[in-house]
């Protein structure tokens, strides 16, 4: 079985937000409420003229030791065989434990107000209120496609693939050792790796 992961290339992300738009449209998320499954942080450090600007795409890390999975009482939040952490909206009771448990801020609440609005905007949406987050576009992956954010990124800053397949680009990049996990010390075993320098502190 595959073990899906991602590599984000910070050297080429230009902060255009096409990934956010593609994800919202593909997964019918409540963008009108400012809720997205992926974010691109725009961070400034330093002082003019020695001032830097970084674009940092955030998304669910699909951790192998995911806190959101261990705290979920109903098992709605679970990891699939291919290593994708998903929320079964039909089992989610909405206790929001997963939201406070996630160190990466990957989750948000799809409120009932959002569900109603989704019917208007998209013509369909989740059946009811639920916790929601990135699913690596599982519906696309199962159809042999890449997640929407990966397929749309013009800068080629998102790479997706099977970490266990030595021919895949993500496996190669991770094997080279240049790509880093974020806060591996938290013990979450995240599967999204980052190339390029992560800024140390905020300006």
């Amino acid at each position: 079985m595959a073990r899906y992961g991602m590599v984000i290339d910070l050297n080429t992300c230009t902060g255009c937000r096409a990934c956010q738009a593609a994800c919202a449209a593909e997964n019918r998320t409540p963008f009108w409420a400012g809720k997205f499954r992926t974010h691109v942080e725009d961070r400034t450090t330093g002082a003019f003229p020695v001032v830097n600007r970084y674009f940092l795409p955030h998304l669910c890390m699909h951790c192998e030791n995911a806190p959101c999975v261990s705290v979920c009482p109903t098992g709605a939040s679970h990891r699939t065989e291919e290593g994708i952490v998903v929320v079964d909206a039909e089992r989610c009771m909405g206790c929001k434990y997963c939201i406070v448990a996630c160190p990466y801020g990957a989750r948000y609440v799809y409120e009932s107000e959002d569900v109603r609005r989704a019917q208007e905007v998209y013509g369909e949406g989740p059946k009811g209120s639920t916790a929601d987050k990135c699913s690596f576009c599982r519906q696309r992956v199962q159809a042999g496609m890449e997640p929407a954010c990966v397929a749309t990124c013009l800068a080629g800053a998102r790479i997706f693939g099977d970490l266990d397949d030595p021919r895949s680009q993500v496996a190669k990049v991770v094997a080279e050792g240049q790509a880093k996990q974020v806060r591996a010390d938290l013990g979450t075993k995240p599967k999204v790796y980052y190339l390029g320098s992560l800024p140390d502190k905020e300006g």
Binding site: P73, R91, V100, P103
Partner: protein, 300 residues
């Protein structure tokens, strides 16, 4: 710079508070009645109160849930503290009822059931013990629930369950003081609950100090930020620390110093009820503010 959590708000604070008070009241009341000194009135009052408190708390939780009907799936993941919380709450309610029934023989409707089930009388010490144990477990659960969340460093400390459990017992004692005072159980109100509560508050202060110190100096800046946030909140400093801890401790200390001379007087009873109420208010504020002071770990 740090992101404050906004998933768990006042409804959850109330649920945690009611779980603490209810669980502790049952643990104390049932244990005293069956294992220390029989006191049917107090046992019934404690048992019924904890049923109501926990039921109200559970309803508040259900209201906060996005999909309350999906609670039928609660058994889905035994790794989750919520699973155990529900188990303990249900267990406490069940054994609390089983314990209460023999005491309620004189009551309409329910009394008939009690009379028919004679075995309950025989087993009352056991049902009390299990019910009390479950109540104690509920108070533990409210702390472990938060401490198991690695996303929020301030909560993610082994000292938080200690603080919450001690605080829960203090609120349970405070509740008993209010209940006994208002019921006219004069003369005894400040003796054992009051004295034990004074001791409990002292323990709580120590636990609080240890918890805040560990958060402030434990090397996790988000937790230190939480401490700054709490100390900068008047409701926490005045409402919880002063009014909810120091003041009831002072009142209890005063009445203890007064000794047997003051016992039974209306003033003493009044002071007992007052300090009980203050402890309850403080207990709620503690949970409300621990939730508010939850700042997510800054990973980026």
């Amino acid at each position: 710079m740090y992101t404050q959590q906004d998933a768990w708000g006042t409804l959850i604070a109330a649920y945690l508070f009611l779980g603490g008070v209810g669980g502790a009241t049952a643990a104390i009341g049932l244990t005293v009645d069956q294992y220390v000194k029989p006191n049917r009135r107090m046992g019934v009052a404690a048992g019924l109160s904890s049923l109501v408190l926990l039921s109200v708390g559970s309803i508040l939780l259900l209201v906060d849930l996005l999909q309350p009907l999906n609670t039928i799936y609660f058994f889905g993941n035994p790794h989750s503290w919520i699973f155990w919380g529900i188990v303990f709450i249900l267990g406490m309610i069940l054994f609390d009822v089983l314990y209460l029934l023999p005491h309620l023989e004189g009551w309409p409707l329910v009394g008939r059931l009690a009379r028919d089930q004679r075995c309950l009388q025989r087993w009352q010490r056991i049902t009390a013990a299990v019910g009390a144990a479950c109540g104690f477990a509920v108070t533990l659960y409210t702390g472990f629930l938060l401490s198991a969340a690695p996303g929020i460093p301030f909560w993610n400390s082994p000292l938080l369950p200690v603080l919450f459990t001690v605080s829960a017992f203090s609120t349970g004692l405070g509740y008993l003081m209010v209940m006994m005072g208002l019921s006219g159980n004069v003369g005894r109100v400040m003796v054992w609950p009051g004295q034990i509560d004074a001791g409990t508050i002292l323990l709580e202060l120590i636990a609080l100090l240890a918890f805040l110190a560990a958060s402030a100096f434990g090397g996790r800046p988000e937790a230190a930020h939480s401490v700054r946030y709490l100390l900068g909140s008047p409701a926490f400093v005045v409402g919880f620390l002063l009014v909810g801890l120091i003041l009831p401790l002072a009142i209890e200390g005063y009445t203890m110093a007064k000794g047997r001379r003051g016992e039974g007087s209306a003033g003493m009873v009044g002071l007992g009820v007052l300090s009980g109420l203050l402890v309850l208010v403080g207990g709620f504020l503690l949970r409300q503010y621990v939730l508010l002071a939850g700042f997510y770990v800054k990973v980026w």
